[in-house]
Symmetry: C2
Subunit: 341 residues, 2 copies
């Protein structure tokens, strides 16, 4: 085995060949950072046992641009994103896989920074990366690095969360401020400078979810408002459950610099992507108890009850504005922010 020149080396086509150079990249970069008993099995697949219960599987490919941003990078985002997709079912995320598509010429130092960031995010959340894959494409056929992560988890006994279970009268809760991730990425991409005051909210929500379902197992559904933002995710849930929703703008937390940046950019924070927030819908009589449980967790400190589920054969999402009027909160039409995750 040769030593990789991580400080000054670059990804070469040979790193995707299946031969000696690929083995060196895997041993000296991925396996060292992710270091765990499953990767150490050294096979093309990982083997493990799962606790009893319904199994959950979620996948996400990450193409965020730029690769590094205040509050995270494509590595940590790829871990948070899939852990959150698994956790939204109420499940405890157990294991992750990681598939890399690298562009020829990408600096190994940047790749190491990304891989180390994945490793930290994985350790912090307690969800190991147990198997992986590396491909390399020619210069100009990719964009630095794309990362797919796939996660599996297990739903604790007695839970039954699904997007089709919201009922008129239910309360709608949000775990914190909206718009932070999307505005950070856009500001950075367009060199607007707002990112000095804001940062991505990218974080794993599995511990918050565990605390929530422990206290209120009757939660109807949870979903993380990523691409398309709060507005689009609520429209999805309204359609899936066949209900309407009434929101209250003054209860939806938005950080002041995010609000200012959105105004400047002509963006509506309701449509801006988040990477560390969740929406939960629960029976009205459990709402205060759930809110308290959420606020007791670091990822839910700024949680709020933001609206209620109503009967509506059109499945509209509406919002009482801070001025007292009522406005429609429609599906996202068109692309607001490409390559946000």
């Amino acid at each position: 085995m040769n030593r990789l020149n991580i400080a000054n080396g670059r990804v070469e086509m040979v790193h995707g060949s299946g031969g000696r150079a690929m083995a060196e990249l895997i041993d000296q970069l991925f396996a060292q950072a992710f270091d765990n008993e499953w990767l150490a099995q050294g096979n093309d697949q990982a083997q493990f046992t799962l606790p009893p219960g319904r199994v959950v599987m979620a996948t996400d490919s990450h193409v965020v641009s730029p690769l590094f941003f205040p509050g995270g990078d494509i590595g940590s985002l790829s871990v948070h994103g899939t852990i959150n997709d698994v956790a939204m079912s109420g499940a405890r995320p157990c294991y992750l896989s990681a598939g890399f598509i690298l562009e020829e010429g990408f600096p190994l130092a940047d790749l190491k920074r990304i891989v180390d960031s994945m490793a930290s995010a994985s350790k912090e959340a307690g969800v190991p990366i147990v198997t992986g894959d590396t491909k390399v494409v020619e210069r100009g056929k990719g964009d630095g690095v794309f990362i797919n992560t796939t996660g599996i988890g297990v739903v604790p006994e007695g839970l039954n969360l699904s997007g089709d279970r919201a009922q008129p009268g239910d309360a709608i809760l949000l775990s914190g401020t909206i718009g932070d991730h999307g505005v950070t990425i856009l500001s950075l991409r367009e060199s607007l400078g707002f990112e000095a005051d804001i940062q991505s909210d990218s974080q794993s929500l599995n511990r918050l979810v565990a605390a929530m379902v422990e206290v209120v197992p009757e939660i109807r559904c949870m979903r993380d408002p990523t691409r398309g933002g709060l507005a689009n995710t609520l429209n999805e849930l309204a359609k899936q459950s066949g209900v309407g929703m009434q929101l209250f703008e003054k209860q939806i937390p938005v950080r002041e610099p995010v609000r200012a940046a959105c105004e400047f950019l002509g963006l509506d924070p309701l449509y801006v992507a988040n990477e560390g927030k969740l929406i939960a819908i629960c029976p009205q009589e459990k709402a205060e108890q759930l809110l308290k449980a959420m606020r007791a967790q670091p990822q839910g400190r700024e949680a709020a009850i933001i609206g209620r589920v109503v009967e509506d054969s059109h499945h509209f999402v509406q919002m009482e504005t801070v001025f007292g009027g009522n406005r429609m909160v429609d599906w996202l039409n068109g692309e607001q922010l490409p390559r946000i995750c």
Copy 2:
């Protein structure tokens, strides 16, 4: 919802936005082709039960170029590749996820052809695609379509296959001819015309594996010789098990047009990628029984015993040539064929 113009439309950035256009693409293209009860759950994750046993997880990103080739395309290949990685542990593959990275401007008609091909491959193997993700990157930042698939499966009771279990005296079996996939791709890419007589061997091996472990549960290990070919995969296993290997060239099946193409191209078929073959190592006294079980399956009709495991502190793989000499079969050095899978 608008109707997608599949005949003449193209992938646009908005198809990755998380909004209405993405929902249309998912509903009218992916969900229709993959159609199953888990996708119909409509959540960001799939839920299912697994039979008892050790769980296996494998992931593979696919970047093959060109996207369509004799014997398959990136869609069928992405299903076969991950099913095989799961199956090599002896497991029954149960579920797949699929993550797409699409390039802006890619024809929807080509995407539909690829997705339909994935759906056929998935149905044929009996392994449903239960959850997915779609991202879009700008023109020139991808290459048509990249597909990650991740698979999970369950190992039947009593099996214990791993790459570190080969022992001196064991027999080495190969399920069929080598080089077909790699030579097909290279010939097509370089417009050499050999692909008129040959085609990729891309296929799912899960049924072959099930038949093999049923008859000979004592199999030490299996692995599919994809990137890096037979030579590299055997070197991996020799290193992992701390043994040497002795092959017999005349017993290794190679199709005549593949041999001719390799000669013309200066390639050694031992290093050329396969996508529907496996290597199995088993105790010598079980070898004939295993061979018979393999030949009884369509995916193993041309199976052969190609060598034996030997003691060797250097972990060398050597081969008795058709001329009676002995040559070293070293690790692949350098890139033989980029983007083969």
